[in-house]
Symmetry: C2
Subunit: 351 residues, 2 copies
């Protein structure tokens, strides 16, 4: 209470309570709703209304605390200034960073967004695009989600790779990413490298794996079947990475480095290695992917391939907004590629 604002501290405090609509404002002014609306929207048609009247209108609007009803405006303009965002899960590093980039751009442009997370349930992946469209979103951003939305609004897919009509894909330069990672490991003298592939449902799994094999081939590194495992569970925690590394440690020949699908699984891998008595990085170097916020604060700090996730989100939002305001059949980018960056920390070292 000590520093609380008083609840009623002026004439406008009362006015703020009751909502006044355009008609009431117009009556108060002795003008028509049309005039008031034109003035409030600074419409070009308001040019014939003298400055004096315009000022009077705006003063009254402020005084009565007039706020246009968005639902009415949306209905009339057939625009919602809302976009839908579909993510697998909010509670993990990847999506949270992308969302934060999306938000930055959208709010600044006057849009809001509705988020839904499908947790890899196929029925929800099917249903949510429809549901959001019924909610009148003007566009959709899919984050790490493979879907054929039968939609009539613009769609931008972050980490999308399929060419689908109506969809702009934002993706990392995976060839370069793979090359960065393997260059780093081979540069440190590693030859026997284990790999953790992503879950089948992750949209980057396939393309990244292809890129890794291509890069390995270029560098003359063997990608051995029995040094390769694939994440399986849907858990957004490091657990799947832990599980698969345990499996690797059981079945696999010795290896000196591990290339994980992402940072989260790298954390699980490090834990499994430690428990098996293998030190990181002394015995095994581990490299992750993404550069989530806590990667820098692991012990040791996680060497990783950074994806510019926040920028990818912002770019997705920017592209989507451009497509929303563009004419119906305008051209649009089918694909936007962003560049990775190698972040060297303590989890990798020379053999």
């Amino acid at each position: 209470m000590s520093r609380g604002k008083s609840q009623k501290n002026g004439p406008e405090a009362d006015a703020a309570e009751k909502k006044v609509n355009l008609r009431e404002l117009a009556e108060h002014l002795g003008l028509s709703v049309a005039t008031v609306s034109l003035v409030m929207n600074r419409s070009p048609a308001a040019k014939s209304i003298p400055q004096h009247t315009q000022a009077r209108v705006r003063a009254a609007a402020r005084e009565l605390n007039y706020r246009p009803n968005v639902m009415a405006r949306m209905l009339r303009q057939r625009r919602s200034f809302t976009v839908g965002v579909i993510v697998p899960e909010i509670s993990e590093g990847y999506a949270a960073l992308v969302l934060s980039g999306i938000e930055d751009y959208l709010l600044q442009e006057g849009y809001f967004y509705l988020v839904v997370s499908h947790r890899h349930r196929a029925d929800l992946i099917e249903e949510y695009p429809r549901l959001l469209q019924q909610r009148a979103v003007e566009g959709l951003i899919l984050v790490d989600t493979v879907s054929q939305p039968g939609v009539s609004v613009p769609v931008v897919a972050v980490s999308g790779h399929k060419h689908v009509p109506g969809v702009t894909n934002i993706s990392l330069n995976h060839s370069r990413a793979a090359r960065l990672g393997l260059d780093h490991l081979t540069g440190l003298g590693h030859r026997r490298i284990a790999f953790i592939k992503g879950q089948v449902f992750s949209s980057d799994t396939e393309i990244r794996w292809k890129a890794v094999r291509a890069a390995a081939h270029e560098l003359g590194v063997d990608v051995e079947e029995n040094l390769t495992v694939q994440l399986e569970s849907e858990s957004p925690t490091p657990q799947p990475g832990y599980d698969m590394t345990c499996k690797l440690l059981k079945k696999a020949p010795p290896f000196t480095a591990l290339f994980a699908f992402n940072d989260i699984s790298a954390l699980g891998a490090i834990r499994a290695l430690r428990e098996a008595g293998r030190r990181v990085p002394e015995d095994v170097s581990v490299i992750g992917f993404d550069d989530i916020q806590s990667a820098a604060y692991q012990n040791p700090g996680l060497t990783t391939i950074r994806q510019p996730l926040r920028e990818m989100g912002a770019t997705a939002a920017e592209t989507l907004v451009q497509r929303i305001v563009a004419p119906k059949n305008a051209e649009y980018p089918k694909s936007i590629v962003v560049e990775p960056e190698l972040i060297v920390r303590g989890s990798t070292r020379a053999v």
Copy 2:
């Protein structure tokens, strides 16, 4: 393409393209819009309409792929089925988990939510409640955000502690939490315990610190001024925890345990301790707070006081929805308290 669905696979595929509205549907049926609306909404007033006609209406709606326009419905019913959520930051950890709980409940009840993050900027904390209300949200959830929203919709504050009219606070039993943590540390024989307090803007900082001091007093533990530091930066990373632990290591007398404000700062603390040559947990035990998802996968695993963040989010959403549908001046809970849990992992051990 190989497993893509065909783009046009039936008569309804075309119908799905063009939007049909209520009037058109009614014309197609040779009925009035009133009748069709009553049937589609299963309104009690539709009881006089024979089953046969009702079936006909629904069949046509399906066939023409009729989807009611939400904006029109919202306008008429003066309901948006949307709530606003204000968080400091959509990053990993705290807010992400709470959001995920909020989403679980809201979607299931047919609500959507708009998220905004203020990043501790005072102007945004002021502005966003207003902005969201102009967007016609029916209620507001504040997550870890201290604010006096001058609002006319129900508000639920997760980790809110101030008694503000119109606000329901959801908070942890901090006395018990502090007691759990200190019981654990003293049980392990620790007496010289360092503390990291939260940032001044964090809504839990004050109450948690009071609780810690009270618990320490009960247990006969000294809380020494020069073993206490306070987080300062706004960064959502472990950096502030790192910085303050460095400071602690410089100025402070020796200590055997560290009680961090949250898990994120505990990670920074561990890094700082390591760099100073102090092993965790051999030389210093570290206990965190929150139990974020990666806490279990630190090396060592982080001992922490678990807040049921997901449940807190779900409870916040549930309470808010109840308040939204309740009559205008109904009673509502002023405060809901949830219980913490001690999670013992590898970062603490006996002296």
